[in-house]
């Protein structure tokens, strides 16, 4: 029973490097999200998707891009990493309109350090 799986779990980057975080869910959920977690700030929404082929900006989208080519996958990209992007990134999914209540199902997180 995998649920939401994130890869990689840890990554260290140098300023200016690029990388992609992969999120995969096996619950056939419509909605997927990327959050970042920083101390004392809770979780902040970066981007989200309400279905295959659609994406939208959240609260803190600058410096990130996303894609949802397949319903089960949601990719988060950093084109040119900056130290301010050092954080723990969480992917989440939810059933979507008519099938959910806002309850989110989370992955275990990806810890990114930008030097």
């Amino acid at each position: 029973n995998a649920g939401v799986t994130q890869t990689p779990k840890f990554r260290v980057l140098k300023t200016g490097q690029s990388m992609t975080l992969l999120c995969a869910q096996d619950m056939n959920h419509e909605y997927m999200y990327w959050y970042r977690q920083d101390p004392g700030m809770g979780l902040r929404l970066i981007h989200y998707s309400v279905g295959e082929g659609t994406t939208a900006k959240g609260e803190v989208p600058d410096g990130y891009n996303v894609s949802r080519l397949k319903k089960q996958n949601f990719l988060l990209g950093l084109e040119s990493a900056a130290p301010s992007q050092t954080s723990v990134y969480f992917c989440a999914s939810s059933p979507g309109a008519g099938g959910g209540t806002g309850e989110l199902f989370f992955g275990e997180g990806s810890r990114l350090t930008v030097l």
């Binding site: 939401v4 909605y31 004392g40 700030m41 809770g42 979780l43 902040r44 929404l45 989200y48 309400v50 939208a56 969480f90 939810s94 979507g96 309109a97 959910g100 209540t101 806002g102 309850e103 989110l104 989370f106 992955g107 275990e108 997180g109």
Partner: protein, 115 residues
């Protein structure tokens, strides 16, 4: 805009003592309420949720929360804590007026259970 306040950033409590973690949100219109728990180095998991009906909601691990519409609060309680309850607790509200499951998180409360 919807917001969530958790007044206590850290709560130390002795084992077997009761605990209350406080949560207030900015509006009681069309919302669902949640408490999530995050154990060290793990993702968030749902502790309990309020959707409708009884204002007292029971969750996993002996936790319960009470929805108070007039005070826009959703405080979390446990009558007797265990060492294993040491974790970060997040209150969250889902705004049902948006086109996606927009979930706003509080900054979190770190519960430390002292032996």
């Amino acid at each position: 805009a919807q917001s969530v306040t958790q007044l206590d950033s850290q709560v130390p409590v002795f084992e077997e003592a009761p605990v209350e973690l406080r949560c207030n949100y900015s509006s009681s219109v069309s919302v669902y309420l949640f408490w999530y728990v995050q154990y060290p180095n793990q993702g968030l998991q749902l502790l309990l949720k309020y959707l409708s009906g009884s204002t007292l909601v029971k969750g996993i691990n002996g936790f319960e929360a009470e929805f108070n519409k007039s005070q826009t609060s959703f405080h979390l309680r446990k009558p007797s804590v265990h060492i294993s309850d040491t974790a970060e607790y997040f209150c969250a509200v889902s705004d049902r007026k948006t086109s996606y499951d927009k979930v706003i998180f509080g900054p979190g409360t770190s519960l430390s259970v002292i032996p």
